[in-house]
Symmetry: C2
Subunit: 205 residues, 2 copies
């Protein structure tokens, strides 16, 4: 089946959103925690958390256009800090529910537990095995549709013992981290293999 | 366990790369296909393919700094087009092997099969169930580490029949798409659930 550009543009809006959102495949399900200057916490689920670089240690995520108020964006720009927290299967329904529009903190609304460290003001999610604290460093406005790439530098990482192997690679079975495709389909993951660094002379199969 | 910023910066380089690369969790494993102005094809695996927006339909990915020559980057800027192709478990070792440095086309080197459409010059991967053709629209240089966010607009999508459900959400079990964490750990995925759009009054658990 070939879906042309014209067919995409002619699709019913929700169908187009669902299809295009699910095209990148599975992605890590992550909760981003922030706090306002009035000390109101905010928690929101994102499927766009990405690696930017290891030295300095940088991560990013995509914000939808701020033409409507976005608590996550405003809090990061006002306070300079945010946290990234892996979603696990044990609380993925609560994590998903953070995408509803609440008048109060999503922590209160969903029952997830804020956790604080002395290093930064933004709240972590206590239930998350992988908690990453970041300081905002730069943003890029994407001209084509006014979304924003937000980038932060890692300030600290909270992990359970045994979360990574001797090569320092995170083991998602140990952390219980799950994936999401598009905005609503959650996936558990199972390791196939850890492959060696690819060199030209290696046999391929 | 708390890993401080200082401890991250003091880590052995490969350990730091492995840890920071694996922090976002699982991500879709995708092959990006391009062709040079001399008609030499290039194929490279990426773990950073992301959704940017549905209308216009936009996807992006992160390029490492172009301080060393990057075939994918040069080809996209020279020809204006690229393809994104989902990796499946049946050929993930070949897909991984595209990250080795070859003198010839990675298609030849790995045995993956180029497939062409009349819509654009960049090669698709015939073995991929999900093939997406894109036209380059913009790039953003990330100041903190000189990586580049590349963005393209979807021109066409090739999918097998039944690849998405009646809501137009891609079904990764049908397409066989797998995930990768960091640079080398491949994961198969299994659907947990498709949750409804979150509204404030819904019970959370």
């Amino acid at each position: 089946m070939i879906i042309t550009r014209e067919a995409i543009l002619a699709m019913e809006k929700q169908h187009r959103t669902n299809l295009i959102n699910s095209l990148p495949g599975v992605r890590g399900a992550n909760l981003i925690g922030t706090v306002s200057t009035e000390q109101v916490t905010n928690l929101a689920i994102f499927n766009s958390v990405m690696h930017i670089g290891a030295h300095p240690p940088l991560m990013g995520f995509i914000m939808r256009p701020v033409s409507v108020p976005r608590g996550t964006y405003k809090n990061i720009r006002d306070t300079g800090y945010f946290t990234i927290n892996h979603v696990a299967e044990s609380f993925y329904k609560q994590a998903h529910q953070t995408s509803a529009r609440y008048e109060t903190s999503e922590f209160e609304a969903t029952g997830l537990t804020p956790f604080y460290s002395d290093t930064l003001p933004a709240p972590y999610v206590q239930e998350s095995a992988v908690k990453i604290g970041l300081k905002f460093v730069e943003e890029h406005l994407i001209t084509a549709n006014q979304t924003i790439l937000m980038i932060g530098e890692i300030q600290e990482i909270h992990l359970p013992e045994g979360a990574f192997n001797e090569e320092h690679i995170l083991q998602l079975a140990h952390t219980g981290s799950i994936g999401v495709n598009g905005l609503e389909t959650y996936y558990r993951v199972e390791k196939i293999a850890e492959l060696p660094y690819a060199k030209p002379h290696q046999p391929v199969v």
